[in-house]
């Protein structure tokens, strides 16, 4: 079938690919600034303490130390946080975790900076530290922040869950636990900066949100908009962690005082200590169904440990509550998810914002219900899954683009094949096979709040199109996608569009590269700008060619009368003409998804304008003698609305599966114990199953050419599918992640598989 589009749906060349293949792409640590000073932060040696005194005099005596800064040197507001501002750039009155920065050294070399931080004397008065949720919520617990230890609670209440459970035929009630997880992008956080001729502080950042960084740095330093410029350098992955500031504030502070180039490159060890983690969750989930397997009621009490600071914790609690039902229709909903402060280093955003943790629980519940009711796991999902017209837990009706049933249908043949043939095949001795399903839904964009994006398109007098976007491409390929959107509207090759990305001097705010929002939201903003340009071109073109606008179509940088390519007018001629008329050759696009804020008590509202859906099938082998799990295959069906760049979508799916394999089987960040990459395992290529990606296109009418998003959805169903498969293999379920060697072997022992004879 011939596509109706020229650019959309095409696997065009990635924007920055040649630089990345030849080693020419400049990541922050690669930026050479002449005579740049090295920065290094002294972090707290206490979990929870009042700072009595910071003595930097010995450090200042070391030759090569240029200066040492403390909170007292911050001229503006010493607080950061994108949702709630509770995190100081440098600790002033107290420290709340071992990651808290206390003083910042600027020195001639990294080595001197390292020596200097060793001789800074900080006098503390210790306070009682709290590490877990129970201790944080205990009556009389010490307050980590003035407002107390509960940062936020999201409540979703619909119907009457209490009464509904009484009428349920089958109820499953379980507790699920997940671990803190490290993003472990391969590029350790880094930044660099200088002061340019007009006094502007120019900061190169490895970031997912340059315009947010800009605002925060301005705030710390009390500077105006144009006195700070953030340039996004090539960014080596983010997965949520680079939504928080890493070194931008330190670089800004040093530039402000020293007016000399500086750089700060975290070691991997500092990156582990200083940056956010995925929130560990404790989830109590109770799900009830009637005798036919129709879900009736759900009750969830979930707690996430955000550590010392909020970061994105409120969003994590909020999203996990909304997504607690899973992609299933349930009339009676009673969900509360609380985000709690402790003295662990802080947790923040990580691919999925709490939805992956919640999906582990709701998908386990679905399998448990199915088993108890004698149903097939696919059947119970088919029966309850969202479809067009379904109403979710927040009372929002899902009208268009609900591709969950289609995802399940696409998985079905693989499921049946695996169940009938693969599982029953003879395997190597002491190996048990199992298969499992994981379903998910995911709201695109931020939860029930405004989250607009903007973009600007310019036409130069040579007829060339220039796209300015604040949207950070951190490897996922948004820059490429946005040119495809603009190119499609303007009938030009995406490659011909000049692109300016993530430079606050030139670009306007596109919001964060998070919440799987950039294709949908920034895609729409770019489309809006491109359409404004297209309208002006069509008006002028119609004028010139003396036909109606509807008779015109776009050629290569020209407009032509449909069917008569010889009767055309080129963009450069039109650009000059428009300019002569005094019309600006610049168009600003804007898009903000339509949402209704969630009621604080009931959580009713309309949190997202659209949702992505997915279903994964996992095929695993469990070694019943050692607890080793091998994931053999993942079939991953994803409703993305429209795949603008199918190979990019596949890249997101495969990458998400890899992260899901890690989340399921091996990743556990232990505060105080996980120090370097020796202590933390992410999957190698040898740990990866074959991935069969299936793209489902349930077109979203409000999306750019129907697109939604896929970044986070790619990860979410994998761990639940694997855990369900391990349970299927052993006949014994695991309720905490990761399913490591120890817990799987224990399950094998408990289920009677561990022994000289092989149990069927």
């Amino acid at each position: 079938m011939k596509s109706e589009y020229n650019s959309i749906g095409k696997n065009i060349q990635r924007r920055d690919i040649v630089e990345k293949l030849t080693g020419q792409a400049n990541f922050c640590a690669d930026i050479a600034l002449k005579d740049a000073l090295s920065l290094k932060v002294l972090r707290s040696s206490r979990h929870h303490a009042v700072i009595d005194k910071i003595d930097v005099s010995d450090a200042l005596k070391i030759p090569g130390v240029v200066n040492v800064f403390t909170a007292a040197d911050i001229p503006g507001k010493n607080l950061m946080g994108i949702i709630n501002k509770d995190q100081p750039l440098l600790a002033h009155d107290k420290v709340r975790s071992l990651a808290d920065p206390v003083a910042l050294v600027a020195a001639q070399t990294d080595e001197i900076a390292r020596q200097a931080i060793k001789v800074i004397n900080v006098t503390y008065t210790d306070l009682e530290p709290i590490f877990d949720i129970e201790a944080a919520l205990a009556p009389g617990a010490p307050k980590i922040h003035k407002k107390g230890n509960t940062l936020f609670t999201r409540r979703i209440k619909k119907g009457d869950a209490g009464t509904a459970f009484e009428t349920c035929h089958t109820i499953i009630e379980k507790k699920y636990m997940t671990h803190a997880v490290e993003h472990n992008y391969i590029e350790p956080d880094a930044g660099a900066g200088y002061v340019d001729e007009d006094g502007t502080l120019v900061i190169y950042a490895s970031t997912q949100n340059p315009h947010y960084d800009h605002k925060e740095v301005q705030g710390f330093l009390g500077l105006k908009d144009d006195q700070v410029r953030i340039i996004q350098a090539a960014t080596g992955g983010g997965f949520g962690s680079k939504l928080d500031l890493n070194v931008q504030g330190f670089i800004g502070l040093a530039l402000y005082h020293l007016k000399q180039p500086v750089r700060y490159v975290y070691t991997r060890e500092e990156s582990y200590l200083a940056t956010a983690k995925r929130h560990p969750f404790t989830i109590h989930m109770k799900t009830g169904a009637d005798k036919n397997g129709k879900l009736k009621a759900i009750h969830i009490r979930a707690y996430c440990n955000t550590g010392a600071y909020g970061s994105y914790g409120i969003a994590v609690a909020s999203r996990s509550a909304v997504h607690g039902t899973g992609p299933y229709e349930i009339d009676h909903v009673d969900i509360e998810c609380a985000c709690i402060y402790t003295n662990q280093p802080f947790c923040g955003a990580m691919r999925g914002f709490g939805a992956p943790q919640m999906a582990f629980a709701h998908e386990s519940q679905m399998d448990l219900l199915a088993k108890k009711l004698g149903m097939d796991p696919m059947e119970i999902r088919m029966l309850n899954g969202f479809k067009k017209g379904s109403i979710n837990g927040t009372g929002q009706q899902l009208i268009d683009s609900v591709g969950y049933p289609e995802c399940l249908e696409k998985i079905m043949p693989y499921y049946e094949e695996a169940l009938t043939n693969w599982v029953t095949e003879k395997t190597t001795p002491f190996t048990k096979r199992g298969i499992g399903i994981g379903g998910m839904w995911y709201g695109i964009g931020n939860t029930g709040v405004q989250n607009p994006s903007t973009a600007r398109i310019e036409l130069d007098q040579n007829g060339r199109v220039i796209l300015y976007t604040g949207c950070a491409d951190i490897g996922q390929g948004s820059s490429t996608i946005l040119t495809q959107v603009a190119g499609e509207v303007l009938g030009i090759a995406p490659e011909a569009i000049q692109l300016v990305v993530g430079d606050t001097k030139f670009t306007t705010n596109a919001g964060a590269t998070s919440a799987s929002r950039q294709t949908y939201i920034s895609g729409n903003a770019v489309k809006d700008a491109a359409e404004q340009l297209a309208r002006v071109l069509l008006t002028e073109g119609a004028n010139k060619l003396k036909v109606s606008k509807t008779a015109l179509s776009f050629g290569d940088h020209s407009l032509q009368i449909a069917g008569h390519p010889e009767r055309s007018v080129a963009f450069d001629w039109l650009a000059k003409r428009i300019h002569e008329k005094g019309v600006s050759l610049s168009w600003q696009g804007y898009f903000d998804p339509e949402t209704i804020p969630l009621d604080l008590e009931t959580g009713q509202g309309s949190p997202y304008a659209t949702y992505a859906f997915a279903c994964h099938l996992a095929l695993v082998e469990v070694d019943v003698l050692t607890g080793q799990v091998s994931v053999k295959k993942i079939v991953a069906a994803h409703d993305v609305g429209r795949a603008i760049h199918p190979e990019n979508v596949i890249g997101q799916i495969c990458g998400g599966v890899a992260m899901g394999v890690g989340f399921a089987l091996m990743e556990a960040f232990e505060f105080g114990k996980t120090l370097s990459m020796k202590d933390y395992h992410i999957p190698t290529c040898a740990d990866m199953p074959e991935v069969i990606p299936i793209i489902v296109e349930s077109v979203e009418p409000t999306g750019p050419f129907g697109a939604k998003g896929v970044g986070e959805p790619a990860l979410i169903p994998t761990a639940p599918a694997i855990l369900n498969a391990v349970s299927h293999a052993l006949g014994k379920r695991l309720y905490s992640l990761p399913a490591d060697l120890e817990s799987v072997l224990q399950a094998s022992i408990d289920s009677g598989h561990f022994g000289p004879e092989e149990k069927m």
Binding site: F430, L625, G627, A686, D740, I749, P756
Partner: protein, 284 residues
Amino acid sequence: MADFKYIRPDNLPEALDFLWDNGQDTAIIAGGTDVMIDVKSGKLDKKYLLDISRLDELKGIELNGRDLCVGSGVTLSEIYTSALLASNALALQKSAVNFAARQIRNIATIGGNVAHSSPCGDTVPSLLLHDAIALVADKKGIQHIPMEQMATSAYMSSLTPQQIIVKFILTPYQDGYADFQKIGRRKELAISRMSMAAFVKKDSTGRISFLKLALGACTPVPCSMGAVEAFLTGKVPTRELLWEAGGLLAERMIEITGNRSSTIYKKPAVQGLFMRILFPMVGS
């Protein structure tokens, strides 16, 4: 970073001369995969770093009659690809298969792996299996040290600061069943949670006529598992018998280590891994 002088001798006598005079102040670098971590973290508190990675005397794998000689400077990649080892010391060859990663195998040496004395050293169980003797030299002469005596405790080698391991002399095993397996937290690039090497011969009646067994990452220093070998020798391997022997092996391990938090996993896993490795002996 550390403050030291880099020395690269041209031959072994030169290296031994240098160590005789400066051994106490010298760290030895072969592949460097362990010592470089200390160099970078500034933990290396020596005046000299002696690079023995290019000494020809430490290279080569040869079979001299009943002696299978593996130079201490042989890299894990060389072990991995050695046909001679595949036919005479299969377990050792297999221990290189999942050793760290290709980039590490390309420079890490068997001598370095042994001298580092990590309880998780992947080549150690296979060397034990082959009754390896380390040929250790200093300026004054040569000493033969059995593998069991190469480490005094975890990460503490019994070598003097003047000594270099020249080679390992192994007893070759042909026509029998040999295996090495390890359990890690992922399939590649993993530190051994546990490893095991075994060599088995059966006689014409199906009885085990010869068995050697060695554990890795289970005890602080390499230990003989003679009691388990004796238990199985002369018996026809069945599922139940192997299971019982695996249980004995686990008990023997706990006798040495005592009960630790890791024992909860390691006790059954030793039994399980033993079953997995020895199972092909049942009925064949």
